[in-house]
């Protein structure tokens, strides 16, 4: 049985629907990310789990018990906030010990637990510092330790890294994953950063306008997006308008050039587009693959990769090449050949599969 | 997100509103009772037709304007200077700006009289000299408010960059101050000025002890001799404070409130 279950959860503020019919079963020890653009309802859903918002309808169950009537302070869920929300008047150690202190735990037990937690986040040297004497990254690690100190049944993280610098973000991301694995704690992680979601999660929930678009492992989400929205939101993708040549074989025409798609549904009526990730495209022509010819429109050098846009009969096609020292960067305006395997692309007509 | 109103909050809010309104309402009704048996504006007529009231009102209003001008001329360049040239002096300025709080008005006026009422100054011998002394006192009393208004205004704009931009375009110090800084500080100076003005209008001690016909002394005199006119004066005074605050609010919509006078 799943540890945490959200069953037909809906939430509306006045007339506005924030979350609609949200269903999810989270297994014990699982790391789940809620990913979506701002305003998609991911934070609201998290806050309903924490008890700060009350669902308009639906039930939240933890180990089969209904949580809905419980106030936040009796749910035993550890939450980490985007703004850290550390208590400014308490030292690092006092912050970590706060949950145990208000629970009336004996002093010795609190001290032990605080040391244990500070060791976990490698901040034992900072026990007597106040939050404003710590860097953003340290503060957020402390907030994590504080949330974990009460041995919560579920760990909730609300965009914990978005206030931090890129480099610290990367470090802390790995640390969160390490600690989560070490403790085996069920975790819900809200983010708008797809890279965080892809790198951290066991499963990702993609949300849009209060509705779940897709639930799946990072690979499922990235390689087999359930909708155009998911395909475009996670990673880069070419979505090229095409003309259907042979509907039952997935053969289409891009401008004047014929392409065969590996996956296609019922292409009834609506305009059809060819979807293929830029990294699937290679320079040159290959027998048996899809081949396109066009003119180089622009070249963007990004360090590790080089993004090239090719004008194929009026459509812009992006392809990513890995950088090498010996790489000859193509010149704008020159003719260019690209190829990609049939299995790498699919056809979509905008209807959710 | 609709929150339920907290019953305790409503209790305190209602209590506070009673504290505000009961004396106000009581005073207003009392002020209408000069004529036995009927409600009338007789007390107001009596006050407004009193030549002494008009004289003291005019005197205090004039002093108010003088105080505002002196305050601005004195403080604006100084605060600007601190922002541009001597940021290290800011703590000193902050301390000076709370001095009038440490030295109560009654102590200040005592010192002013004993210092300038004797040789070599002997300012209190002529009424003009006394007025100079009073105006100086008003400037000191209202300094914390004027300083804070200007300081807040300067902080909200990037004085240094603006100055450098103006200099870069070829203006001299005076032009920077009058063409760039002053227009951007209009609202801050205006609210500071209204605070100054209201302070002067409500002030009792300086006018009373230096024996000049200020509004405060006039009111105190009426309070000693009449029954209903003081109530009418209180309402008029309410109205005046209200007007100053209303103007500040109007000119600085959305900004934070400020306290007007010291007592």
């Amino acid at each position: 049985m799943a540890q945490l279950e959200l069953i037909h959860i809906s939430k509306s503020f006045n007339e506005m629907t924030a979350v609609q019919d949200f269903n999810l079963a989270v297994e014990a020890g699982e790391f789940i990310s809620f990913l979506g653009p701002s305003g998609c309802g991911k934070t609201t859903t998290l806050r309903m789990v924490a008890g700060f918002e009350i669902p308009t309808s639906g039930v939240i169950q933890l180990d089969g018990m209904d949580l809905t009537p419980l106030p936040p302070n009796r749910r035993n869920m550890g939450m980490v906030f985007q703004s850290y929300a550390l208590f400014p008047n308490m030292t690092a150690a006092q912050n970590v010990g706060y949950g145990l202190r208000v629970a009336g735990k004996p002093r010795v037990e609190i001290e032990q637990r605080v040391i244990e937690m500070l060791d976990l986040i490698q901040m034992h040297d900072f026990a007597e510092r106040y939050p404003n004497q710590l860097s953003g990254g340290q503060q957020q690690r402390l907030a994590l330790a504080r949330a974990l100190a009460i041995k919560p049944r579920v760990l909730l993280l609300d965009e914990p890294l978005s206030a931090l610098d890129a480099k610290i973000r990367l470090e802390l991301r790995q640390e969160i994953r390490r600690i989560q694995r070490q403790l085996g704690i069920t975790t819900i992680y809200v983010t708008h950063d797809q890279e965080e979601a892809l790198s951290l999660s066991d499963r990702i929930v993609i949300m849009r306008r209060g509705v779940i678009e897709q639930v799946g492992t990072p690979q499922q989400i990235y390689n087999f997006p359930a909708s155009d929205f998911v395909a475009e939101f996670v990673g880069h993708i070419n979505l090229l308008p095409v003309e259907v040549v042979q509907a039952d074989a997935g053969v289409v025409r891009l401008g004047s050039q014929v392409v065969r798609a590996g996956q296609f549904g019922h292409l009834n009526g609506r305009p059809v587009r060819l979807a293929v990730r830029p990294e699937e495209l290679k320079a040159g022509s290959v027998e048996g693959a899809n081949n396109l010819t066009g003119m180089i429109e622009s070249v963007t050098y990004l360090g590790a990769i080089v993004r090239i846009r090719v004008d194929v009969d009026g459509q812009l096609v992006s392809l990513d090449m890995f950088n090498e020292r010996s790489l000859e960067i193509p010149v704008v305006g020159q003719p260019f050949h690209v190829n990609f395997p049939v299995e790498a692309c699919w056809l979509t007509n905008g209807v959710k599969n | 997100m609709k929150k339920k109103n907290n019953p305790w909050a409503i209790f305190w809010a209602v209590l506070a509103m009673l504290y505000f309104f009961v004396p106000m309402l009581g005073t207003f009704i009392f002020s209408l009772r000069m004529k036995r048996g009927v409600l009338s504006f007789l007390a107001y007529q009596s006050v407004l037709s009193d030549a002494n009231f008009l004289r003291s009102f005019r005197y205090s209003a004039t002093m108010g304007v003088v105080t505002v001008i002196v305050s601005v001329v004195l403080l604006l360049p100084s605060v600007y200077w601190i922002y541009i040239k001597a940021p290290k002096m800011k703590p000193v300025m902050e301390i000076i700006s709370i001095l009038p709080f440490v030295i109560p008005v009654i102590v200040l006026v005592f010192g002013l009289i004993r210092t300038f009422g004797r040789p070599p100054f002997q300012l209190t011998l002529s009424s003009f000299g006394t007025d100079v002394l009073i105006a100086a006192g008003y400037v000191i009393i209202s300094m914390p408010y004027m300083y804070r208004a200007i300081d807040v205004g300067m902080r909200s704009m990037d004085v240094r960059t603006l100055t450098e931009a103006a200099q870069n375009l070829g203006s001299n110090w005076f032009q920077v101050l009058t063409l760039v800084i002053l227009p951007n500080l209009r609202i801050a100076i205006l609210s500071g000025a209204l605070i100054c003005f209201a302070t002067v209008m409500g002030e009792l001690i300086l006018g009373d002890f230096l024996v000049r016909p200020a509004l405060g002394s006039y009111m105190a005199g009426v309070g000693r001799s009449k029954a209903y006119e003081p109530a009418a004066l209180a309402i008029i005074s309410y109205g005046l404070t209200w007007l100053c605050l209303g103007l500040i609010q109007y000119f600085s919509r959305g900004r934070s409130q400020q306290q007007l006078t010291g007592r």
Binding site: N73 | I10, A13, M89, I106, V107, F110, T115, Q167, G223
Partner: protein, 305 residues
């Protein structure tokens, strides 16, 4: 352009007279009209009539009359700053975070601005007109019947027959509260608004109830602001003169009233003793500020880096 940059480097590098010159008019003014008068009083406080150094002027501390005025002033200021402070805190609490209906909050914040600035003589007039012997409320109460302790109806009810007197310290406290609590509302509201919603949420999330949140988080965070506001209120009342003078006609002996009478006619019989009295006020105000700074340093260690 280059000249402008040079000026800046000069201004920063040379800390000497050049940084002072722009402030000269201001400092001259302050010296003349604030520092010199204060020094006159301070030096006078330590001199006898012939200008010799003495501590005799402070013998008023043995004079029960003058000493009592200090005690009365401190008592009135302390009481009104505590009553006004606590009341004002609750009102500010009610008006933030939409705890009370919005229209109430709007009225209260507007009137706090008004009432905090409404003092002096007119305030005394307002209270006399409302609660004085013939005041509006007094007159109303005289028409109301009350059941006395023995069950007998008391009619009419005159509060002045039951221990109330506006022209006393109690009346003064009542009147001062009219400007004290709104001043508290104005000064503490920004601090209350500075309490982050996330703190209370984090606290609840960690299992605390609302009383624990206030005890361990909100009040400690607010403490420096609360202290500062209370000190401001104390000074506000301590230096007040006009309201007391107009309300009681000088029959209540506050230090300010004593000094006023000393300016007018040397009631102490020794001009230098008046200086000592005024000097004492400044000392008390300075001590208050120092106390405040010390307390703030202690309670707000976490504020500083």
């Amino acid at each position: 352009m280059i000249a402008g940059q040079n000026k800046r480097i000069h201004g920063k590098g040379q800390a000497g007279w050049k940084t002072w010159i722009g402030l000269l008019p201001f400092f001259l003014f302050i010296t003349f009209f604030l520092v010199m008068p204060s020094l006159t009083l301070f030096s006078g406080a330590f001199q006898d009539a012939e200008g010799r150094f003495t501590l005799a002027n402070f013998s008023f501390l043995e004079n029960t009359f003058a000493l009592k005025s200090y005690l009365t002033s401190i008592w009135v200021s302390l009481t009104t700053s505590l009553i006004g402070g606590i009341f004002g805190f609750f009102v500010a609490y009610a008006t933030t975070s939409s705890r009370a209906p919005r229209w109430m909050s709007n009225i209260l914040s507007t009137f706090s601005g008004l009432a905090a600035n409404f003092g002096g003589v007119p305030l005394a007039f307002a209270f006399i007109a409302t609660l004085g012997r013939t005041g509006f409320i007094t007159a109303l109460l005289k028409g109301v019947c009350f059941n006395g302790a023995d069950g007998a109806a008391i009619c009419p009810f005159n509060p002045y027959d039951h221990g109330f007197n506006l022209y006393s310290a109690a009346g003064l406290i009542l009147a001062y509260t009219y400007f004290q609590f709104p001043l508290m509302v104005l000064t503490i509201t920004p601090a209350l608004e500075g309490l982050k919603k996330e703190w209370s949420e984090a606290s609840a999330n960690l299992g605390s109830n609302s009383a624990q949140y206030w005890r361990y988080v909100a009040l400690p965070v607010l403490l420096p602001s609360l202290l500062g506001a209370t000190i401001l209120l104390f000074g506000n009342a301590f230096g007040a003169y006009a309201t007391a003078q107009a309300l009681t006609g000088g029959s209540i002996y506050l230090v300010t009233i004593m000094i006023g009478q000393q300016i007018r006619g040397d009631v102490l019989g020794n001009p230098n003793e008046g200086y000592a009295l005024a000097f004492g006020m400044v000392i008390i105000m300075s001590l208050t500020i120092v106390l405040y700074i010390l307390l703030q340093r202690k309670t707000a260690r976490w504020l500083k880096l």
